[in-house]
């Protein structure tokens, strides 16, 4: 089923149960394999979880929920769509999806980068957080559904809005108390969480933003100049302590 070259291996995942597939991945990585190709993925969960080495996994098909959850270092490239919980609580590494992704993409991540070519479902980037130089990054080519950036406590979330007329999401950045969202075009006031402020991008913002757009384009072949010349706004938390006055004693 698999052809082992020196450092690269291909697995046909057809009919393989997720536990067996992930056991196989662990075994290969422990043998020093650095490049793994998975063909015909159909819903196997947790791919990339518990592989704490900078290996590359290239997946064709539709990997299952919690792709790269708790991931700490690997790079995952998906040729197809990802489901729910991609990059759940990830710590380091990279996930690149040549397609769309489902709900709660990058939930609670503490680091790492995720690039989605198209759009994502509900609650993307929910509660991503940063500490020191651990700054999670989520770049979405299209747009997101409701509650994008909910509870956001740090990190960078980008909605490039490619082929998007209007962002459909409501409750954008609701509960946001850290990090930043760069969003193409405009959104109505009622679409924003009450904790969110709107501003122009500063010079410092531009530096980060440009780097992320360029990387997105490197993965998916878009023209960075075309994207960068569009209008973007910055969404930021008005306060780090939105609930400071919530309680009484």
């Amino acid at each position: 089923m698999e052809k082992t070259r020196t450092r690269k291996t291909t697995i046909d995942a057809t009919g393989i149960y997720y536990r067996d597939l992930n056991a196989k991945l662990r075994s290969l990585v422990s043998q020093g394999i650095e490049d793994i190709e998975i063909l015909n993925a159909y819903g196997q969960r947790y791919i990339g979880t518990d592989l704490n080495k900078p290996v590359t996994i290239e997946i064709t098909g539709t990997p299952g929920n919690d792709l790269g959850s708790f991931m700490d270092g690997p790079t995952i490239i998906v040729h197809g769509n990802a489901q729910d919980g991609t990059g759940n609580t990830m710590n380091a590494g990279k996930i690149i999806v040549h397609g769309r992704a489902g709900d709660t993409t990058m939930l609670s991540a503490r680091g790492g980068e995720i690039y989605i070519r198209d759009s994502v479902g509900y609650r993307a980037g929910i509660h991503i957080k940063e500490y020191g130089d651990k700054i999670p990054v989520l770049v979405i080519g299209g747009t997101a559904q409701d509650f994008v950036g909910e509870y956001m406590a740090g990190g960078v979330l980008v909605l490039l809005g490619i082929n998007v007329e209007n962002h459909p999401a409501s409750y954008i950045g609701t509960g946001m108390h850290g990090g930043v969202i760069y969003l193409r075009g405009r959104v109505e006031e009622h679409q924003l969480g009450k904790e969110v402020g709107v501003a122009e991008l500063s010079e410092t913002d531009r530096v980060t933003f440009t780097r992320l757009v360029q990387e997105y384009c490197r993965h998916f072949g878009n023209n960075a100049e075309d994207i960068l010349k569009q209008d973007f706004i910055k969404l930021y938390p008005k306060t780090l302590r939105p609930y400071g006055r919530l309680y009484t004693y």
């Binding site: 929920n65 198209d118 479902g121 299209g142 559904q145 409701d146 082929n163």
Partner: protein, 378 residues
């Protein structure tokens, strides 16, 4: 059905809590297809269920008896069958009856007996009563008063097959690969507070309406009380039964189109209603004011089906998943995209609908083909 309930749920909990996988496939051109793909798709989501319930609904199932109500009945013993058949003969005209073919299946333990009956209402019904009302009344009478029997399917040209086991085991047991229909829904169940019983599996059905469901309705108590005011008796004590009765009330009795029914079950927020244009605003306001007791609150995805129509609906903040796929004249609804891809790798469209926005497939009508606002996968 009291006995089945007692035997299988000694806890006699007020409400059954489920987590699940759900799947639906419909050819809007009306062409019938076999259950093989649907079985494959639902079993690909094996890990979303725990072997305590699986089931299928099939439409366009009995073209030879399309004009007759098809009853699927489970019995715990022959005595129950004899008593029920006497009741059927007293109240209906039985056109044809037969045992439902099954085969021994690994993992299927101690199944009830299954029979099906194709019936006419005949002249038993009081003239002032509508056929459907008469039928619902009799089905409820059997289920509430005769012991060890449960009517779990009673619509025309459709049928429900369900029981305790993983969905793929249920499919094998009922030999579902041998049936064809233009619309299939499927369910794999993960009940958390009951050992599972055959009648408690999904789909739930009343007349030709079926519901498969993932999630829990936290507003169950409110919904149930609301329906009881309209004369429904919630005997099954499940969320899903409540949905079936709500549909019966809103669609059959109150004549609301499915687009508005969805706005009763998963209404827009008051703030969103306030922003609607005049006319629409008053309509949404009235629906929510009058039918607030039917708001289904808590995480859910439903696939609802009846003759000629399949509807996918999630709760208004989409706490349970639903992915929609389209290919040619086929509409797919699934808890996970991978299950669709498994049987239809090259889809024309894939998207996840907004919370509370129904996705509706109708016979002879174009596919919803709602294009995702951005970057949708081709």
């Amino acid at each position: 059905m009291k006995e089945l309930w007692k035997i299988n749920n000694p806890h006699n909990d007020d409400k059954v809590i489920d987590a699940c996988s759900i799947f639906g496939a419909m050819d809007v051109s009306g062409k019938a297809f076999s259950g093989t793909g649907v079985i494959k798709a639902i079993s690909n989501m094996h890990d979303r269920s725990n072997g305590l319930g699986g089931g299928f609904a099939v439409y366009g199932l009995y073209p030879d008896y399309a004009e007759h109500y098809a009853f699927h009945i489970m019995y715990l013993n022959e005595a129950a069958r004899h008593e029920t058949e006497r009741f059927l003969k007293d109240n209906f005209y039985i056109v044809h009856d037969e045992i439902v073919p099954t085969k021994p299946t690994t993992g299927i333990i101690n199944p009830p007996l299954f029979w099906r009956y194709f019936i006419d209402i005949g002249k038993h019904k009081p003239t002032e009563m509508a056929d459907d009302d008469y039928l619902v009344d009799k089905v409820m009478t059997i289920n509430a008063t005769i012991e060890d029997v449960f009517v779990f399917s009673s619509g025309k040209n459709m049928g429900v097959f369900k029981g305790v086991g993983y969905p793929e085991q249920i499919a094998e047991f009922f030999r579902l690969d041998e049936y064809e229909g233009y619309l299939w829904t499927a369910h794999g169940r993960f009940p958390t507070n009951t050992p599972g019983w055959w009648g408690g599996a999904h789909p739930f059905s009343i007349l030709d309406w079926t519901v498969v469901h993932n999630g829990e309705i936290s507003s169950y108590g409110t919904n149930r009380r609301c329906l009881e005011e309209f004369g429904y008796k919630c005997t099954m004590q499940t969320d899903t039964e409540v949905v079936a009765y709500a549909l019966d009330l809103l669609v059959r009795k109150h004549n609301l189109p499915m687009e508005l029914v969805a706005k009763v079950l998963a209404p827009p927020f008051w703030n969103d209603i306030n922003r609607l244009p005049p006319g629409k605003k008053e309509l949404m306001l009235a629906l929510r004011q009058v039918y607030g007791g039917l708001l289904l609150n808590g995480p859910f995805t439903f696939i609802i089906a009846h003759e000629g129509e399949m509807i996918g609906l999630t709760d208004r903040i989409r706490l349970r998943p639903l992915t929609v796929g389209e290919k040619g004249t086929m509409l797919y609804l699934s808890s996970e995209e991978s299950a669709i891809r498994l049987i239809s790798p090259e889809l024309d469209n894939v998207w996840t609908p907004m919370g509370g926005e129904p996705v509706i497939g109708r016979l002879g009508k174009p596919l919803p083909s709602h294009k995702e606002p951005a970057g949708a996968l081709r």
